[in-house]
């Protein structure tokens, strides 16, 4: 602790309590809703005619609603909550403007809710990963902006002037989301650029959201927790700066697929960038490995397990991105389930795992009491391991089969059915996650009510009693 600023860690943690609870509860509800809808979507591969008379649950609406719930409903608010806490801890200051971030969390969740309902009733914008209608987009943007405001105010109040590596990643993430989200929404929904430019902007947004923004927050978080949990300093500060730099320099230019109906220079630049993307992926793998391995700390199903699994998934997902961008592979893999599996690995295998680890670490600290069901944490990681492997690997294999069979729709069907079992496991896990957060919030609320009742019922002091 800094002697010039003698604020206790417990006080910093407590200052994060209300905003983080708001963010985490919403995130865990969205995770359950998203996985449930993903399961509903997957039912179409078991019984195509199931929702033939029910437009709300038709595959084309449920599938994007599920994807967006996982990305915007779960990943982003969970990431933002962790980010706020890391900022407060690194600044050695209480969270600034906590009420603003509480409002922001609710605006964000409201936006996700409106967006999801919008997609289900047929009001989707039709742009991949940007399906939320305009009203929802405005709410998300405002919510994010307010969280960023809180984070920057907390950052400004720091007593340690020197920046920690996580700061770079998380600060870049704070700037990058409003930039890409407003650009994509303004160009596509407000100004409605013409024809061929629309998919280019959509690809640029998708890649930057899923592969750059999630990487910035996820890796930034991992670089905070890995040294902390392994009890060793982060490996190589300049090497980390190099990884950060190459990540944003090359990662931002990926995403335009080979053979897309756009001017040929666009996919060529993207292909070059994806090839170079191997540099940050390997750099991050080396930093994480050198920090965590050999420290002698065994994770025992705790947060460290989640963070390690998430970091490994990041490396794998990055390698898959690079492999599938190369023209020879892309000819087989594009438009197949491979791409979907890759997205899910990035969303749940990488970011989701890091978010679980972070939340399980932070939650007892901000609440000032242990988790109500610590056993669930150890069980949850098993469900995650099995669930992600069973969900993602069949999709990847199914994609290859589908591509080799020249898009014969039945080629991947069996693999799709297997992958639904992974979804069930992930859904069970998300319930455990929710129960821990919910019971904790409930206990805290009950305690608050008890305090209020006690204060009301307390006998009046003698001085106040009228003679």
């Amino acid at each position: 602790m800094n002697s010039a600023n003698p604020i206790s860690v417990a006080k910093i943690d407590a200052s994060c309590r209300v905003p983080l609870l708001a963010l985490f509860i919403g995130a865990s509800v969205a995770l359950i809703a998203g996985l449930t809808l993903a399961l509903v979507a997957a039912m179409s591969f078991h019984a195509p005619a199931l929702f033939a008379s029910c437009p709300i649950f038709t595959y084309g609406r449920v599938a994007p609603a599920a994807n967006d719930l996982l990305l915007y409903g779960f990943c982003v608010p969970a990431g933002l909550g962790i980010l706020l806490w890391i900022f407060a801890r690194l600044s050695r200051a209480e969270l600034a403007l906590p009420i603003v971030s509480v409002v922001a969390a609710h605006l964000w969740h409201l936006g996700v809710f409106i967006g999801t309902v919008g997609i289900l009733v047929g009001d989707s914008t039709g742009f991949t990963w940007l399906e939320y209608p305009r009203a929802a987009a405005v709410l998300l943007f405002t919510g994010f902006f307010l969280v960023a405001l809180t984070a920057m105010a907390t950052f400004g109040a720091r007593s340690e002037r020197e920046l920690y590596p996580s700061h770079w990643f998380l600060l870049a993430a704070l700037v990058w989301f409003p930039w890409i989200y407003s650009t994509a929404n303004l160009f596509l929904l407000a100004w409605r650029v013409r024809g061929g430019a629309q998919p280019v902007i959509d690809w640029w947004f998708t890649n930057n959201m899923v592969y750059v923004w999630l990487a910035l927050v996820g890796v930034g978080t991992a670089f905070y927790f890995l040294p902390k949990l392994a009890g060793r300093p982060l490996h190589g500060r300049f090497f980390t700066l190099f990884a950060f730099w190459t990540l944003i320099l090359f990662g931002t230019w990926c995403g335009i697929p080979h053979g897309a109906p756009v001017p040929a220079w666009l996919p060529s630049v993207s292909f070059l960038a994806s090839t170079l993307f191997i540099i940050p992926v390997i750099a991050i793998a080396i930093i994480a490995a050198k920090t965590a391995y050999g420290s002698g700390v065994v994770c025992k199903g705790g947060p460290l397990c989640y963070i390690e699994f998430g970091t490994a998934s990041f490396v794998l997902s990055g390698l898959l991105l690079i492999a599938s961008a190369c023209p020879d592979m892309s000819r087989i893999l594009s438009f197949t389930w491979f791409g979907f599996g890759q997205f899910q690995l990035q969303l749940l295998g990488f970011f989701g795992m890091i978010a679980f680890g972070g939340v399980y670490y932070i939650l007892p600290r901000i609440m000032g009491q242990p988790l109500p069901f610590p056993g669930f944490v150890r069980f949850h990681i098993w469900l995650c391991w099995a669930g992600i492997i069973l969900f993602v690997i069949p999709l990847l294999i199914g994609g290859v089969l589908q591509g080799l069979a020249n898009y014969n729709p039945t080629a991947a069907l069996m693999m799709l059915r297997v992958s639904s079992m992974g979804l069930v496991l992930l859904l069970l896990g998300s319930l455990l996650f929710f129960v821990n957060i919910f019971v904790m919030a409930l206990r805290w609320n009950l305690a608050l009510i008890k305090t209020v009742i006690a204060a009301v019922k307390a006998p009046l002091e003698e001085a106040e009693v009228k003679p």
Partner: protein, 267 residues
């Protein structure tokens, strides 16, 4: 890193670079796109959709069809094909010659040499340029899709996944409105192995009126038909969607996607 501001500024420039490259530049390059002229012709392309087909794109969007269907044909390259247009004075020699040779999948040089041989034998031939690739072999299109194909679309529904077939030329492949509507109502009735969900909510099942069945009613095979005395009639949305599907045809040669149309080759 004492210099936080420097890291921040450098990051901003690195991030902004991709914005200039992948948002600003394509908007400037493609955003001002205009109709073009068909290669070796005078027709303009593309023609803006009208009426039902325009609204149909919105039905397509609202139901998320692009989650399973792409609207883009990819191409690996070109090949030449030599067609005999006249056998000349010595038909047996020419027919023996062409029977012994490969006529398609040729490079330009091979095609020239072949056409020289045919000319030497007294016949007349025509060399055609054809696009090649998996999507084209599968019959999903004649040429690759290019930016011009989507000029008037909003939103452009390129699609991300082919859980079903590509639809860039569905209006050309299945030009029958009745087929489209029946396929939407009961995919398995026209394509036995289809895994597409039936879109029954776009249709109305109602009692046949006393004046006789509606002219719009679907003519369904027995196992897909409703109970006796009922009929299946497409709703407005189903008709609009089908009209949109019929409007999907990217089958003219363009400067950036050339090929020789078949119509000119009449032996």
């Amino acid at each position: 890193m004492k210099n936080g501001a420097l890291v921040f500024l450098a990051a901003l420039i690195a991030l902004g670079g991709s914005w200039v490259g992948f948002v600003l530049a394509p908007t400037l390059q493609l955003g001002g796109e205009k109709q073009t002229v068909v290669l070796n012709g005078t027709d303009v392309y593309p023609i803006q959709r009208t009426g039902d087909a325009t609204v149909g794109l919105q039905v397509y969007r609202a139901n998320g069809c692009a989650n399973c269907h792409t609207e883009q044909v990819r191409q690996d390259g070109f090949a030449c094909e030599v067609t005999l247009t006249a056998a000349g004075k010595n038909p047996t020699v020419v027919s023996n010659l062409i029977a012994s040779l490969k006529l398609d999948g040729l490079t330009h040089e091979q095609a020239e040499a072949l056409s020289d041989k045919i000319t030497a034998a007294g016949g007349k031939s025509e060399t055609r340029l054809v696009a090649t690739g998996g999507d084209i072999d599968r019959g999903w299109g004649i040429r690759q899709s290019v930016a011009a194909d989507y000029l008037y679309d909003y939103p452009v529904q390129l699609g991300i996944l082919r859980a079903g077939p590509d639809l860039a030329n569905i209006g050309f492949r299945h030009p029958d409105m009745k087929w489209q509507l029946q396929h939407l109502y009961a995919p398995k009735s026209v394509s036995a192995h289809s895994s597409m969900p039936p879109f029954r909510y776009l249709f109305e099942v109602r009692k046949v009126a006393d004046s006789g069945p509606s002219a719009d009613a679907l003519d369904l095979p027995k196992e897909f038909a409703p109970a006796e005395g009922s009929e299946v009639v497409p709703t407005e949305a189903a008709r609009q969607l089908a009209a949109y599907l019929l409007s999907l045809r990217a089958n003219v040669p363009l400067y950036e996607a050339p090929f020789t149309p078949v119509t000119t080759a009449k032996p």
